[in-house]
């Protein structure tokens, strides 16, 4: 093998892209050639230097969130929603929820227009469905006692979400997670009502207080209100009177303290 041939094949040899026979030929040549050996050595050093020293740009958190948001939107409004209609029978209820979301556009447009923020309801629904759909995404922090959820959320959010203990009202707090809705973070509190789950989304409102407004479609119920500081969206598959009851109890209950009691 000549130097010209060897140099032509050097990269493929180094990258393990040559057949056994050709590899052996290159190897034999390089071992004995005083000009091709350094060429191979410098190329190997270059590869190592690039892999070890150069910047590998990992996706920023904002991008990760934006991608998940886009996926939710595409899933609930695009052809993805149609694919979910073929969900297995065990998924009937979830599939129904997804179809509900896909078919809810008129109701959502109503809310969106009223709110002046069209994107919000879609995202709330997508987040709700996503949470209920996958057990592991339902909550990121489990409420083992009444003091775990609030500090966890406070650490993750740029606002203080009121977390309330409604266990004496028949709605024990199961846990919470953080979602990304309408370009900012939102708290999602998950309460139980018997065997059902209520997801309550909370994020800072635009300052207008509004009373509880109920809506129900095909078995899923929504309650929406604002206290002027925070906007609340409760979504569940329980009946409307029960969700209304939950919403009233939540409004009436005292929030847990912002900070855990200081240790002596």
């Amino acid at each position: 093998m000549t130097c010209t041939e060897a140099l032509t094949l050097l990269d493929a040899y180094m990258d393990g892209e040559l057949g056994v026979e050709r590899s052996l030929e290159v190897e034999r040549h390089v071992e004995t050639c005083p000009s091709c050996a350094p060429a191979l050595a410098s190329r190997r050093s270059l590869g190592a230097a690039l892999r070890n020293k150069i910047e590998y740009h990992t996706a920023p958190l904002a991008l990760q969130r934006a991608v998940r948001n886009e996926l939710s939107r595409a899933e609930t409004s695009g052809p993805g929603a149609a694919a979910i209609r073929h969900a297995p029978p065990a998924w009937t209820r979830m599939a129904a929820s997804l179809i509900l979301v896909a078919g809810l556009s008129s109701a959502l447009t109503y809310y969106g227009t009223q709110n002046g923020r069209d994107a919000v309801p879609d995202e709330v629904f997508a987040s709700y469905v996503r949470g209920v759909q996958s057990g592991d995404r339902l909550v990121d922090v489990v409420s083992t006692d009444r003091h775990t959820v609030k500090p966890w959320l406070d650490a993750k959010l740029d606002f203080a979400a009121p977390v309330k203990d409604l266990s004496s009202d028949g709605f024990p707090l199961f846990g919470g997670r953080v979602d990304y809705i309408d370009d900012h973070t939102a708290a999602a509190l998950v309460y139980h009502s018997g065997k059902h789950v209520i997801t309550l989304f909370i994020w800072p409102s635009d300052g207008h207080a509004s009373p509880i407004a109920m809506s129900a479609r095909r078995g899923d119920t929504l309650a929406r209100w604002s206290d002027g500081t925070m906007a609340y969206w409760a979504i569940s598959d329980i009946a409307a009177p029960e969700l209304m009851e939950f919403s009233k109890r939540f409004q009436a209950a005292d929030a847990m303290p912002d900070a855990p009691p200081a240790k002596p």
Binding site: V67, E75, S134, L138
Partner: protein
């Protein structure tokens, strides 16, 4: 934990399109962003382009049939990068400014250089620091830079690279060879120059 929540938690991940996409493609989000950053020369637009590419990939996901997920995704990312730059006034970002890249005259000169001069000392290359390496990479023509990223960072095969960059395998081989030769020459030049300055 209520019965419902227990049931939800025990259920296998949904096989909805989204769940499959998250499982197959989201682990390669870093690779997608990294490639976009290198193709777009560190531009802030890399985030937007990556986001758009991920959405595009989700739309096309029905056409993914279990081949290499990373290679499949990176092909879409690369296309998104190039169509993004096509939609804008042509800037320095994508120009094959130096070395003339695919200009045959320069190729001949380059090959002559590769054979005519001794290869830079491997120890010299080991000295190269992060900044020097980044600068040398940024200065490469885009078609050389992207192929180095695919090979050195993502460790994709020539076959996969040929599919992503839509060029024959032989071209992958020669382009990679030239990319490394250019980078080596530039690096050794920079390092020797810096040494001289320090003295």
């Amino acid at each position: 934990m209520s019965a419902l929540v227990t049931a939800l938690a025990q259920r296998a991940p949904s096989d909805s399109k989204r769940a499959r996409f998250e499982r197959e493609m989201l682990p390669h989000l870093d690779a997608a962003y990294n490639l976009a950053r290198w193709i777009l020369k560190g531009s802030d637009d890399a985030q937007d382009v990556t986001q758009e590419a991920m959405l595009r990939a989700f739309r096309y996901f029905d056409g993914f049939h279990g081949e290499n997920a990373k290679a499949w995704l990176l092909k879409i990312v690369r296309n998104s990068c190039y169509s993004w730059t096509k939609d804008r006034p042509r800037t320095e970002t994508m120009s094959s400014d130096e070395e003339g890249s695919l200009n045959p005259e320069h190729e001949t000169a380059l090959e002559a250089a590769g054979h005519g001069f001794p290869a830079p000392d491997a120890r010299l290359i080991e000295e190269a620091d992060r900044r020097v390496l980044n600068e040398a990479m940024q200065a490469l023509p885009t078609e050389f830079r992207e192929i180095l990223v695919l090979r050195e960072f993502e460790e994709l095969s020539y076959h996969q690279i040929s599919d992503i960059a839509q060029i024959p395998i032989g071209t992958v081989m020669s382009r990679l060879s030239r990319a490394r030769a250019l980078l080596l020459r530039r690096l050794s030049g920079n390092i020797v120059q810096r040494r001289g300055e320090m003295r």
